[in-house]
């Protein structure tokens, strides 16, 4: 693997591109913002999906504490299937690089506190960087997507930077 890595800071004001990577960078810097109410049902379903036991409380019970990585459920925008790429992968990864296959690579998750049922969270998702590595089998495009969750007062709840790998 050629260790040379091009790192591109993503900003909405990126200059005119000279390569596919930089074009992706210029197109995808704007953060997406939305607000999400967490319900006991959301927490219960997430807990069951990761294989944890969870008390069967009523949906209006606000004492239920979510598993640590619960905010992963808020990472992807809830778009209809027809607005996703043909492979159904998240729209957040739909950047104009010459690569179609994508797979999750790594994550850095910072947890400031646990989430409880009933909370209203502000979610901001941003494509932070697009990097390319040149290997023997061709280029790999690494997409760093950050998901920040805060409470209504702006206090941080969690931040995840997930890196996805796209290949031709």
């Amino acid at each position: 693997m050629n260790e040379r890595t091009i790192e591109v800071a993503v900003t909405p004001q990126a200059e005119a591109p000279a390569s596919g990577v930089e074009r992706a960078d210029a197109a995808a810097g704007a953060p997406k913002r939305r607000k999400c109410r967490v319900t006991a049902r959301d927490i219960r379903r997430f807990a069951q999906a990761i294989g944890e036991s969870c008390p069967l409380l009523d949906d209006d019970d606000e004492s239920l504490l979510a598993p640590p990585l619960f905010c992963q459920t808020l990472a992807y925008e809830e778009l209809p299937l027809e607005l996703l790429p043909p492979d159904g992968s998240p729209k957040e990864l739909d950047v104009p690089v010459p690569a179609k296959r994508v797979v999750g690579g790594s994550s850095e998750f910072t947890l400031y506190r646990r989430v409880r049922a009933g909370e209203l969270l502000a979610v901001v998702t941003t494509l932070k960087a697009v990097r390319v590595k040149h290997g023997k089998s061709g280029p790999l495009y690494l997409l760093d997507v950050e998901t920040q969750c805060t409470d209504p007062e702006g206090n941080p709840v969690s931040t995840e930077v997930a890196t996805y790998v796209k290949r031709p």
């Binding site: 640590p68 990585l69 492979d87 998750f109 947890l111």
Partner: protein, 145 residues
């Protein structure tokens, strides 16, 4: 005296490190992968279609990166038993896990620090599959109450 109790009774310099964490053994099923896609609203076809996953060079349906992280989180929260919290958790998938195959999550506590009245543990983690094949590496910072 349990391993976790030792962290309360002994000073950091008195602890013998690295301290192995208990192993979490599990076997994600196709149903679990499907449920995790549903709750995260992840419609990517490599997580539900063997045919689509093979067409992209995988051996079959792929267990989500995010679900692998939750297995590591379960390992840590199970060990902490409500006497501490995860402050950070990082992991990197080095080989795709597949449903129907056994996994083992484990690791070690490698450092213990006292910072501002808190006891902070740093852990090195890994997920292995059959024949000890490495599937993911990770590290975590824990705070004890």
């Amino acid at each position: 005296m349990s391993d976790l109790t030792r962290f309360y009774r002994l000073r950091p310099g008195e602890l013998s490190l690295p301290l192995p964490l208990p192993t979490l053994s599990l076997e994600p099923t196709a149903g679990q992968v499907f449920m995790f896609s549903a709750v995260t609203w992840n419609r990517h076809h490599i997580h539900y279609s063997d045919e689509a996953a093979r067409a992209e060079g995988h051996q079959g349906v792929v267990v989500q990166r995010a679900l692998i992280g939750n297995f590591l989180a379960r390992l840590l929260t199970g060990w902490l038993a409500e006497r501490g919290e995860i402050r950070s958790l990082s992991w990197k998938v080095v080989k795709s896990a597949r449903p129907g195959r056994p996994l083992r999550c484990g690791g070690d506590v490698v450092t213990v620090e006292e910072l501002g009245g808190e006891r902070r543990l740093r852990c090195e983690l890994k997920v292995v599959g059959e024949d000890d094949e490495l599937l993911a590496t990770g590290n975590a910072t824990l705070i004890l109450h």
